[in-house]
């Protein structure tokens, strides 16, 4: 669930750039050993004191951040443990060692690019496998394109562009289809867009129905530390909205709309929410295009959900989440209109406009 949600949330961070350089960078990245890169990245972050001592590192979330499977993460953890930079403890995962190598009290906080000490949110290594690279490149191109019209994705042109087989492209496109970003027509073309106000409104309607329910279902398993940390983050953001860029806002959104819901046991429910996160594409394209900071209303609405969660008042929290989604729908529909003034971007040749 989080994997896909993160993927959906991440794509817009690249929408402010032309798709081609992203793809070039991915193809240029040589096949380095992934566990080695994860190890090196974490090691330097710990050594520089950029990761809080005691932070509990779990394979799953870290793998998601790096965009890999768990296997290289496990291997990297073992190496860091051997280095004395991670400690085992009576719980799942590893603790980040203190500066003096001690084993601090466990600190359970949501894992994010920021909590892992990356300087830039999009830093998650350009190390994914071929299929990951293709997936992310396609996702980036598609999420830019859909705001501008209706496109056909040419499988063989994409295969040529990436230097891979058509089946590799097909696999990546199938994954994008699972998240509603592309569809396949009866004539077996891959189609994307156009992003319409109706689609955005329908996604919000679904989320208004499902997210409060998911929050109720997830609530019992949410750790107090996680909520406190989320609350502290939002308070900080409200005090200084200018410090929150598009990526920072994306992290706040992930905390509220993904992490707070993720313990719901009904995975179909979470999967459906996942496929309704397209509006976030609009918002990220928007915040990136205009280099904006979040408006206070959004942040205050987040706090209105988190505060009752801290107080154990799940009814108030679920109501506030509904209010936030309702207001978010209105804002997102307004932003979609603004995208109409943007010039049509240069897209990779495999994205073919349907006229």
């Amino acid at each position: 669930m989080t994997r896909s949600a993160r993927a959906a949330l991440k794509q817009p961070t690249r929408t402010d750039k032309a798709a081609e350089p992203v793809i070039d960078a991915m193809i240029d990245t040589d096949k380095r050993l992934r566990y080695r890169l994860i190890h090196d990245q974490l090691k330097s972050a710990i050594a520089l004191g950029r990761i809080a001592p005691g932070l509990v590192l779990l394979e799953g979330p870290v793998a998601r951040i790096f965009g890999t499977s768990r296997v290289p993460v496990r291997k990297a953890f073992e190496m860091l443990h051997a280095d004395g930079l991670l400690h085992t403890f009576e719980g799942r995962g590893y603790l980040v060692a203190g500066a003096d190598g001690s084993a601090p009290e466990p600190l359970r906080a949501p894992l994010s690019e920021a909590s892992l000490g990356f300087e830039q949110a999009q830093a998650p290594l350009e190390l994914p496998s071929n299929s990951e690279r293709i997936y992310h490149a396609l996702e980036a191109a598609v999420s830019i394109a859909i705001a501008f019209g209706h496109y056909r994705i040419d499988e063989s042109a994409a295969a040529t562009a990436f230097g891979v087989s058509r089946s590799a492209v097909r696999e990546a496109l199938s994954r994008l289809r699972d998240f509603g970003l592309v569809e396949k027509s009866a004539y077996s073309h891959w189609l994307a867009g156009p992003l319409t106000a109706r689609a955005v409104a329908q996604d919000y309607e679904l989320r208004m129905l499902l997210e409060p329910a998911a929050l109720r279902a997830s609530y019992a398993k949410l750790s107090r530390e996680m909520i406190e940390s989320a609350f502290a983050d939002i308070e900080r953001a409200i005090r200084d909205p200018g410090s929150i860029d598009a990526d920072g806002l994306q992290r706040l959104e992930t905390t509220l709309h993904v992490e707070c819901l993720q313990h719901a046991s009904n995975k179909k429910l979470l999967g459906t929410i996942d496929r309704a996160l397209m509006p976030l594409t609009v918002n990220h394209a928007f915040f990136n295009a205009f280099n904006l900071h979040p408006e206070p209303a959004t942040l205050v609405e987040h706090r209105a959900v988190l505060r009752p969660l801290l107080d154990g008042n799940i009814d108030a929290a679920a109501d506030a989440l509904l209010d936030h989604l309702r207001a978010g729908q209105k804002r997102t529909l307004q932003r979609l209109k603004v995208l109409a003034v943007l010039p049509e971007p240069d897209l990779p040749a495999y994205m073919q406009r349907i006229v």
């Binding site: 501008f148 319409t196 109706r198 209109k337 995208l339 109409a340 003034v341 010039p343």
Partner: protein
């Protein structure tokens, strides 16, 4: 801001230590050289006009608020500018004649009857609410100062009108009349042109729209398919982006009927064409223009921007707008700058008692001539729809561009 004792009295440049340059972004509708010169003289500032077509101005307005202080365009485009936070609110306490502005933009009513709610109604995006959204509940801050406005329709050459149509009331359907095929033009801007086209398609009985100011995806698809069909049959002779282009299309005899903006009719008069500006039975498409402030304007240049906004309400600008067929939001103030015959012709819709001047020319309207459509209330009171940025505007613009390319 330096308060001035009388509205139009030139302010000495010596009031400011150095001349401030004010940059105004907008279209040819209001950014005219004789206005620029007059304002420079009256305000003692340097005024730079950045002129482009409607969509280019919106794009520049949204993306580069650092390149202008004053955004001069139409209320419907606020839907693009405001969410992008390109603008800062205007304090009505700094607009000296705010209370003179008439009810239409401030309450959505004209006299005692409410106007249409179809399209992007200006008052619904006028007042800045405490949460920074826009609505019609009055506050002390506004998104855009309402100024120039008009009720638009289409113009046709009387001699070219087929006999079959001569006996029927003027209708938007005429734009799609088969007898006029090949001699029709529309405007190219999606937010305006698509509404003219939708009015025509509906009036011709080809489609029925639930809300013509807010088309659904299926309605947009249907509209565009219909228009492309007409275009492929050679129905349209051209598409225009500025009123100069519109005027030229008719003066060069390329078109016999087209949607129009008022200043183009001034050009048609000058060229001696026999034409009529229609008062379609379905009603007009209306627009409200105004000025807004870039979010980055600060200090003296912001003061100068307020001075410029205030200057527009002092009467002179309203009068020069009237001579092009446009209305100003505080018409009484411009009355002092028009003679009685001009006022009677432009605002009251009465036959010209004498020859009347144009904005920069001595002779525009010949004695006896009468404005089509009647007086201010008759024209602004018959609005079918306001220019609109619809919910599916992004989709409409992309599809409209397809029609333009087809």
């Amino acid at each position: 801001m330096k308060p001035k004792s009388t509205p139009s009295k030139p302010t000495s440049a010596a009031v400011h230590p150095a001349k401030i340059e004010l940059r105004v972004l907008g279209t040819t509708v209001t950014l005219q050289e004789h206005i620029r010169k007059q304002a420079e003289q009256d305000l003692g500032i340097k005024l730079r006009f950045i002129i482009d077509d409607g969509s280019a101005v919106q794009r520049a307005g949204v993306m580069h608020p650092e390149n202008y202080e004053v955004y001069d365009q139409w209320f419907h485009s606020i839907d693009c500018l405001w969410p992008a936070r390109a603008l800062q609110p205007i304090e009505t306490s700094r607009i000296r004649r705010w209370d003179e502005i008439n009810a239409l933009p401030r309450t959505g009513q004209l006299g005692d009857h409410a106007c249409t709610n179809a399209g992007s109604v200006p008052v619904d995006r006028l007042y800045v609410q405490p949460d920074n959204s826009l609505a019609r509940t009055p506050t002390g801050r506004i998104s855009m100062l309402p100024l120039t406005h008009n009720a638009d329709s289409f113009v046709y050459l009387e001699d070219a009108l087929p006999a079959a149509l001569q006996a029927t009331p003027e209708s938007w359907a005429w734009l799609l009349s088969p007898e006029l095929s090949g001699r029709v033009a529309l405007q190219a801007d999606a937010a305006i042109g698509a509404i003219d086209a939708a009015l025509a398609v509906e009036a011709a009985g080809l489609m029925k729209f639930a809300d013509i100011g807010n088309l659904t995806i299926e309605e947009i698809d249907g509209l565009i398919a219909t228009l492309i069909d007409f275009k492929r049959r050679g129905h349209f002779a051209g598409f225009w982006s500025s009123f100069d282009e519109a005027a030229q299309l008719m003066i060069t005899n390329k078109v016999a009927i087209q949607s129009i903006w008022s200043p183009a009719t001034v050009e048609l008069e000058r060229a001696g064409l026999r034409f009529r500006l229609a008062s379609p039975r379905e009603g007009y498409r209306a627009w409200f223009g105004g000025m807004a402030l870039s979010r980055v304007a600060r200090g003296r240049v912001l003061d100068a921007a307020y001075d410029y906004l205030n200057w527009w309400l002092d009467g002179w600008a309203g009068a020069t707008m009237a001579r092009q067929g446009f209305y100003i939001s505080n018409p009484e103030r411009s009355r002092g700058h028009l003679n009685d015959a001009e006022w009677a012709y432009w605002y009251d819709g009465k036959p010209a008692e004498a020859e009347l001047p144009g904005p920069t020319s001595k002779h525009l309207v010949t004695a006896g001539q009468q404005r089509d459509g009647g007086n201010y209330v008759a024209r602004m009171g018959r609005i079918a729809v306001w220019d609109s940025v619809m919910d599916e505007h992004n989709y409409l613009v992309r599809r409209w561009n397809e029609f333009m390319r087809a």
